[in-house]
């Protein structure tokens, strides 16, 4: 049965009427109109839909909208802007990371959560934090360079 939920996304409140079990991803993309989290698998296996909820990276494709209500949701669009970019966004541009780019929400949002907790991660810690995320174009080498570059900037 559809209910009303309040979603706090990138600092703005949104009222969404939805099935409580509906994944947050559909609310973000269709009800709120934020296209940046992508549908990659719907199974929490790839990361393309990653957002932060209360600072933690979560896969919005399997997070019920009811679980996200009244919590602080940040998407890639809320992480930084061209005027005030997050270091990872700057590093992604500097390193020219993406090819198709459909995976970037997963890598940047997961790495951003890592860097928030661990400002100078080792390569092993970076790989561990990013383990399981997918990139089909094979930009992994550049992704690692960008995360290391962002850590240097931060």
């Amino acid at each position: 049965m559809a209910s009303d939920f309040t979603l706090n996304v990138n600092g703005k409140q949104h009222r969404v009427n939805a099935d409580p079990d509906m994944p947050l991803l559909y609310a973000l993309r269709n009800d709120i109109g934020l296209n940046n989290p992508k549908f990659g698998c719907g199974l929490a296996q790839c990361g393309a839909c990653t957002v932060h909820i209360d600072g933690q990276p979560v896969r919005s494709c399997v997070t019920p909208v009811s679980d996200a209500a009244n919590r602080k949701i940040v998407t890639l669009a809320g992480l930084g802007t061209p005027e005030k970019p997050h270091p990872l966004q700057t590093a992604y541009i500097e390193e020219q990371v993406p090819q198709c780019g459909y995976c970037i929400n997963g890598w940047i949002m997961t790495a951003a959560a890592l860097l928030a907790e661990n400002k100078k991660p080792t390569e092993a810690e970076i790989k561990q934090a990013l383990d399981g995320l997918k990139c089909r174009c094979g930009t992994h080498v550049s992704i690692l360079k960008a995360v290391k570059r962002a850590a240097m900037m931060g």
């Binding site: 199974l43 393309a48 966004q89 541009i93 198709c100 459909y102 990139c135 174009c137 094979g138």
Partner: protein, 760 residues
């Protein structure tokens, strides 16, 4: 504005009417080509045909340049290279050029992204068109300035007299905002072979100032700041969300659909037409739920497949449908084998593989006023236009296909099928339909790279010389469905709606020039396991059949080198005479610090060992050699392809940074396909349907280093880079594993279980 502005910013109405038309000399000027609404009444544009200069190049009122490109970028920054080539020939700043890609309303069919021909063929045409535009502009300036054309120079779009720089005009003044009306010498070909030069010759490479420079992509910032739409993000008013329903048993078709089973889900409409079954809903989540819950009774379909492990026996035993010997046969191979002192032979196996694009494909189709528009991530939007026209029963000129970046594309993936399925749903419901597949449909039902076996034999004389070479591939055709979606028979929707199927046979042979006195390379194809709507139908997957053929042929070169006691680099060089082939092998070996010795190493003990391997191949004019340095844990079977050294010669390099990134993607994807990827199936269905069942390379397995030696040959025409360097990867890794362990692995993927078993 980015370099890659999408023409969807244009007024659709204006474009469909072909409205903006002002020929050279007409008095009215446009602000820019982007303000097409205002321009609608101002004359007539030459037809959007390959023989018109205006189909490729336009000078805007402000002097900026629009380049209309009938191919598109699949993530390698192709539009940057095209912008560089166009700016170079026109003598305008790079930043003055905007490349519009893959909109059928603004570009002619140059073949889409196809066969690594973006620069090789697409760029060649754009370069010729830009050179012709410059020639025409200089002639116009000559008349205006009353100065002979050969006494004019062009700097940043300003034409001036060489000896009196104050005597000048500009491209903007000469033609800004109006269209060229200049005929080109079109070869009457469409797609990749399209070529339409003008009278101008392009600049000599010695004059290049922009071509060859490492210019960055400007589409990265919009991507990381979420300012750019993917095809999954396009929405139009009145749009509904579509999903298709595929059977659990391949070949089964719906015989009974119980719409009552989804009556509690609001706003759903089921579309069941012949064997096609799908639905639309107002809200996407309702479409997803309804597609899951809809109760369908399927026909009893006979099990069509052997199980995964039985596929190679099936290929061995299956009747040959077509055989082809390609290349120049040399000598008498059979005689050579009869006289051989010994024969080395081996057989290699490569599985079906999936595109497994990052997201399942998506398309949006809107039908309105007897015309249709399709937003698609397919890398061949002009062919999508033709296919949608067939599905809708419209003439192609009533359909516009707009390419918008999709969730990855590496050939004929699921994007073409999504566009056709969306067209069927839009036609049936009368609503604009956005269709995105679910993950299992993307990985399970996309067209696959074909499974194959490869038999190689070498005849060796008493002195250890190779006197005969015989290489045969046998496998499923690489084109069960053709390389684009322009015909119903090549799409799932067409199969389900009863299109008459066609038989298409194609494979390939090793692309190398080893000079063995007696040499034969051939292929044989077999019939598909299931003819209609098969999840194992084969089609082009990045470097179609290249990885499998060269896994076999270049692994075998090492096996022969081993048999005759030669170093693998030395052995290759001994049998090559082509200078560019020799150069890449030497360059890769030298950069990698290759020590001349035979394989395997004999100096390692313990469970962790490492090795090095080389492989090389050509691809349509490009030559590439790869040295892989690999670590193996014998106790787990786990392989880490730690370092790659790649020497790459694709003629003239347009943008070295773009090229290096392109190679990086090839190497990593090639490593993934070698170590992990295999489409699995049981007798009834494909069982690799997500990232657990179809694993790809993980970040923890990323190579530490990909070191590229980019050999620039500015005097040579540029050739492709999108695929050549994925070709030798599997063999380079296999050869490194042999070097480390003395064990030859002849079946891909080299998953830990398989490696461990091979090593035990």
């Amino acid at each position: 504005m980015t370099k890659m502005d999408k023409p969807s910013a244009f007024s659709r109405r204006a474009l469909l009417k072909g409205a903006v038309v002002v020929s050279v000399g007409a008095p009215l000027a446009l602000d820019t080509l982007l303000s097409m609404n205002a321009a609608q009444a101002q004359g007539s544009k030459p037809p959007l045909m390959p023989d018109q200069l205006s189909s490729y190049i336009a000078i805007n009122a402000d002097g900026t340049v629009s380049a209309f490109f009938g191919k598109m970028d699949m993530g390698h920054g192709l539009f940057v290279a095209i912008g560089q080539m166009v700016a170079e020939e026109l003598d305008v700043p790079f930043k003055a050029v905007t490349v519009f890609m893959g909109d059928t309303a603004t570009s002619v069919n140059q073949g889409g992204a196809s066969g690594s021909t973006g620069i090789q063929l697409g760029g060649r045409q754009m370069r010729m068109a830009a050179a012709e535009a410059r020639r025409v502009l200089v002639e116009m300036a000559a008349e205006k300035l009353n100065t002979p054309a050969d006494q004019l120079i062009v700097v940043n779009g300003v034409v001036s007299a060489a000896f009196n720089r104050d005597k000048k005009t500009s491209y903007a003044e000469l033609i800004g905002g109006r269209y060229f009306n200049v005929q080109l010498d079109w070869n009457k070909q469409w797609g990749n072979p399209l070529y339409a030069p003008g009278k101008a010759q392009p600049k000599p490479h010695t004059a290049h100032k922009i071509v060859g420079k490492p210019i960055k992509r400007e589409d990265v910032a919009p991507k990381v700041f979420c300012q750019e739409d993917y095809c999954t993000d396009i929405k139009v008013p009145g749009m509904v969300h579509g999903r298709v329903i595929r059977p659990a048993v391949a070949g089964a078709v719906p015989v009974k659909v119980d719409e009552g089973s989804i009556k509690d889900i609001p706003g759903v409409k089921v579309v069941w037409e012949k064997d096609f079954l799908g639905l639309v809903a107002e809200h996407e989540w309702n479409a997803v739920k309804a597609a899951e819950k809809l109760k369908v009774e399927w026909s009893n379909a006979a099990p069509a497949f052997p199980e995964t492990g039985g596929i190679y026996d099936h290929i061995r035993k299956a009747p040959v449908r077509k055989r082809s010997e390609e290349g120049k046969p040399a000598g008498n191979v059979d005689d050579a084998f009869r006289s051989a002192a010994r024969i080395v032979e081996a057989e290699y196996e490569w599985p079906f593989q999936s595109h497994a694009s990052m997201g399942p494909a998506c398309a949006l189709v809107e039908i309105k006023d007897g015309q249709a528009t399709c937003w698609t991530g397919s890398q061949k939007s002009h062919f999508v236009r033709d296919g949608v026209a067939v599905m809708l029963g419209l003439p192609p000129d009533k359909v516009r296909a707009i390419w918008v970046p999709g969730p990855g594309a590496y050939g004929r993936n699921d994007a073409g099928d999504a566009a056709m399925d969306a067209a069927v749903l839009a036609k049936a419901t009368g609503r604009p339909v956005r269709l995105q597949y679910m993950r299992d449909q993307g990985t399970g039902w996309d067209p696959k790279g074909p499974a194959s076996i490869h038999r190689a034999r070498a005849a060796i004389d008493a002195a250890g010389n190779v006197i005969g070479y015989d290489f045969l591939s046998k496998g499923f055709s690489r084109i069960d469905v053709l390389m684009n979606e322009s015909k119903a028979a090549d799409t799932l929707a067409g199969h389900l709606l009863g299109a008459k199927l066609t038989v298409n046979d194609g494979f390939g042979v090793p692309a190398e020039v080893y000079e063995f006195a007696n040499k034969r390379v051939a292929w044989e194809t077999i019939a598909p396991l299931l003819e209609r709507a098969s999840p194992l139908r084969s089609a082009h997957l990045r470097d179609p059949v290249g990885p499998q053929i060269h896994f076999a042929s270049e692994s075998f070169m090492d096996e022969v080198a081993h048999a005759v006691g030669a170093d693998p680099v030395e052995f290759r060089l001994k049998h090559l005479k082509a200078p560019r082939d020799i150069a890449v092998i030497k360059a890769a070996a030298e950069r990698a610090g290759w020590q001349t010795r035979t394989s395997p190493r004999r100096d390692q003990t313990g469970s962790k060992v490492s090795g090095r391997g080389i492989a090389y191949s050509q691809r349509n004019g490009t030559v590439c050699a790869v040295v892989a340095e690999v670590d193996i844990d014998r106790s787990t079977g786990k392989i880490w392809a730690r370092k790659f050294t790649v020497a790459h010669d694709c003629g003239q390099i347009i943008n070295p940074d773009g090229l290096a990134k392109c190679i990086e993607g090839n190497i990593v994807q090639g490593t993934s396909r070698t170590l992990w990827e295999e489409t699995t199936f049981d007798k009834q269905a494909v069982t690799s349907v997500d990232w657990i069942t179809y694993p790809i390379l993980d970040i923890s397995e990323t190579p530490e280093t990909i070191d590229c030696v980019l050999i620039n040959r500015p005097e040579a025409a540029p050739t492709g880079a999108g695929e050549p360097s994925i070709r030798p990867v599997a063999a380079a890794i296999a050869n490194a594993i042999f070097d480390a362990t003395g064990v030859r692995i002849r079946r891909v993927p080299f998953s830990p279980d398989r490696v461990k078993q091979a090593l035990s």
